[in-house]
Amino acid sequence: MKSPNIRAQIVCIPFDTSGPGTSALGRVLLMRHLIIALAGFLVVLLACSATSAYAGAVAKWDFRDGTTTAWQVGGDVAELLRTAEGLVVIPSGVAPTIVISGLAVSAADVAYARLQIRSPIAIDEAYLGWAAARRGQPDARSNRRFAIPRELRGGFPRSVWIRLDEAPEWSGTVQNLGLLIVVGESGQPVVIESIALFPAGLLTQSRAWWEALALDDVAEDLAFPLWSLNTVRPVMVGARTLGSIATGVVCVGLVLLVLTRLKPVRPTLSRALAGTAIGLIVCVAMGLVAVAAYLETRAFRVEWAVFGARSSADDYRYMDGFDLVGTAADLNRALPAGTELAACLWGNPRARDLLSRRVRYELYPLRLTPDATLLLEFDEGKTTCRTPDDQLILSGLGYHVYQRQ
């Protein structure tokens, strides 16, 4: 027999109507206040963000106008080019250095230095050094070490914040600054967009705190396709993940809600507890939505710059580090479908395994099998698996195929 009124069945389901006697109007007002508070919080965050102009610098050298000449060659620099992109440091040794002298900056007025920099490789070792005159004490010379992440294809300078006021030698009057970047044997030029010194203050500290969240690094992890998407990189707040802090706050909210379920002593107290609990949970949830929106938007921008309007072959070349797609296309033109090939690969076991799967995918309809009589070697890996008896039968840009004997 058919139900006479399906809608009634669907809508009118038995559910628990017990709970604190709270006013719906009060809750709606509370929600509005929460939304306004959250909007205010977001405005403050934006004001503190790296691109905000609200925190003024004590001293700033912007090299993008191509005219700033205060910084000069210190050592290991073949040439300093002043361009619209910034100050291009072309190394002549492993540790190019640039310096500025004749400053008279009170160390007490400066808490942070910020570099906006582009490096094609990640640099683990870079130093900001200084010389300061101190009244009644010996002059101080010291430095702070920091790291520079690599620049992504398509732009995106990196902002590096260096805390100076924690160093005991950061005192007196700073007269000289030096920037030493250990590029090693790579000889890759580094582009410095700007260097700035910032005072201690709420806005500066907020900006440094924002940078310490490394949201841009997390977004880049989202943007770059991971070989195994098992998890996303957490946002770290100090030593804890943002997730664990948010979960902790939500748990506090839930405990408060449990308290309201107990027999209330006073309805007003119960309402206040429930309101606080819901407020905490809603604020945390909306804050996380805002963080997620920031990360996704940034990831989108990075992906668009790195991959947008380029061919798959070009994207794979960028990610693989060599032209595997071009090699596969060449081989598929030269060899009949179904031909079996063995590949000579390189790297640690994990990288090797991953590479073998990439090669297998790209080569199809050629087949990659370890026992094949044809051996494929790549110039990229600088690895050889052939024996002296094996005969070269095919060669192309970056690869060779041998007939195994």
Binding site: D16, S228, T241, G243, V250, L257, A292, T297, Y361
Partner: protein
């Protein structure tokens, strides 16, 4: 043109599914978002089931043969559902739009626009870069590529490529999308995945709308759309998001069936479960759990007198069981590669590992950034409604989550999967299968509570 052909390849399944649902008289019987969301999966399921039959009949696996074959199967179903539709009464199932005025409507419209923009952003992200995921390169996309070049499903390829245990649902769909490109394209077929996310969110919103007002339902959809790992899986080709979609669809239609007693809800749940079994091996686990819960509902939990447990279970189980058995028979008789097997550990090992597994999993759910605050809210809401554990709301949304996680963790503690778990390579992807269910569960229970408060508001204001 990659976008245009990709959109066409994705639009056809939506059209195929929507017309069948319309023909069955189900338009207006469910919220339009739920209608569109399920139409996508229904169309994709039909296409993938038709495509796998072509090689069996000796027909080349090409677009030229596939289009008329899909059309033929679609026509047959159109005819069959036309007869079936006589028994369906078209009754709107969703609550009316909120009448709270312009302000609320404006918030809803802005929220919806932002959600659509977010989905657009995710779509562009997916289509920006070629496929890169391990599983895709190792197994399912390579299978699709092999089918594309071989123009059949070659047994030698299935044995040679990755794990032969993986069903063929997704490779066939990737093949379908690439046919429209006229070449093998490493990027184009990824359009399926933002499509799965959009369909999942549409189903979630549409189902919530049956008990919660528009703004609350939209909050629920946003809540799910903000789960970072769920979103990331929409930008690359993994099987987990499609399985999450079918798992949510199965639960939603079982939940509807528990309230409407309508056969079409049961059949739609069955179709979604069958599609899940056809997508990933774990789909069989999801189906088993859904079947067990349906049995529990039919037999024990407040089932009405007129419910017929055996026929209900048979109607639900028929399609997924058929798919599972057919694939298992083929896999065991036709393929030579060794099946994946997990040797169970000793009982003492199991108990010594169980504690480590529980600690690891709870820590990960607590600390990771994959799920925002989903899990404390899910378990908190469950705690609040523990007394109603056999109600359809909890039976079909909360218990599948708990049972799936329990089954996975027990398997991990008792087999070699322990190592994979502790290396961090399996937990969150398994959790992804049920995360939308958990988000729906939170949205549903909070929404119901909110509606209760609203219903009492006039009295509270006096």
């Amino acid at each position: 043109m990659t976008y245009a052909w990709g959109l066409l390849a994705s639009a056809i399944p939506v059209g195929v599914g929507a017309v069948l649902l319309f023909r069955a008289g189900l338009y207006g019987h469910m919220h339009v978002a739920l209608f569109v969301g399920v139409a996508y999966g229904l169309g994709l399921a039909l296409i993938s089931f038709v495509l796998v039959i072509l090689p069996v009949l000796g027909i080349p696996l090409t677009l030229l043969w596939a289009l008329p074959s899909v059309g033929l199967a679609w026509g047959a179903l159109w005819f069959a559902t036309g007869r079936f539709s006589k028994h369906v009464e078209s009754v709107p199932a969703s609550t009316p739009a909120s009448a709270r005025g312009l302000w609320m409507r404006a918030v809803w419209a802005v929220g919806l626009a932002l959600l659509v923009a977010k989905l657009g952003l995710i779509g562009v992200r997916a289509m920006d870069k070629p496929v890169i995921g391990w599983d895709a390169v190792t197994t399912h996309s390579l299978r699709a590529k092999a089918m594309y070049y071989d123009q059949t499903i070659a047994r030698s390829s299935l044995d040679w490529i990755g794990s032969a245990d993986y069903p063929l649902g997704l490779p066939l769909l990737e093949l379908w999308v690439n046919w429209f490109q006229g070449r093998w394209d490493d990027t184009a077929f990824k359009i399926l995945f933002p499509g799965f996310l959009a369909a999942l969110l549409a189903m979630l919103y549409g189902a919530l709308r049956e008990v919660v007002r528009p703004l609350g339902s939209l909050f629920g959809a946003w809540f799910a759309a903000s789960l970072p790992l769920l979103v990331e899986h929409a930008t690359d080709a993994y099987l987990d998001l499609p399985l999450a979609y079918t798992t949510l669809g199965t639960s939603i239609f079982l939940w509807r069936h528990a309230r409407t007693r309508e056969a079409h809800d049961l059949l739609l749940a069955s179709a979604m479960a069958a599609f899940g079994v056809w997508i990933k091996r774990e789909g069989a686990v999801a189906f088993g759990i859904a079947l067990a819960l349906l049995a529990l509902w039919s037999v024990i939990a407040r089932a009405p007198v007129r419910a017929k447990p055996v026929s209900t279970l048979a109607a639900f189980a028929a399609m997924p069981a058929l798919v599972w058995v057919a694939w298992a028979v083929f896999r065991w008789t036709a393929l030579e590669s060794a099946p994946l097997s997990f040797q169970p550990s000793s009982v003492s090992d199991f108990f010594s590992r169980a504690l480590a597994v529980a600690a690891y999993a709870s820590g990960e759910l607590w600390r990771s950034s994959n799920w925002n605050v989903l899990w404390p809210l899910f378990f908190g809401v469950w705690l609040f409604h523990a007394r109603r554990s056999l109600d359809p709301d909890i039976l079909f949304f909360t218990w599948p989550v708990v049972l799936t996680l329990a089954a996975f963790l027990a398997t991990s503690a008792g087999t070699v999967m322990f190592d994979f778990l502790m290396q961090g390579s399996t937990l969150h992807r398994m959790v992804l299968h049920v995360a939308p269910l958990a988000a729906f569960s939170v949205g549903l229970m909070v929404g119901r509570h909110w509606e209760t408060i609203r219903a009492r508001a006039p009295r509270a204001r006096g």
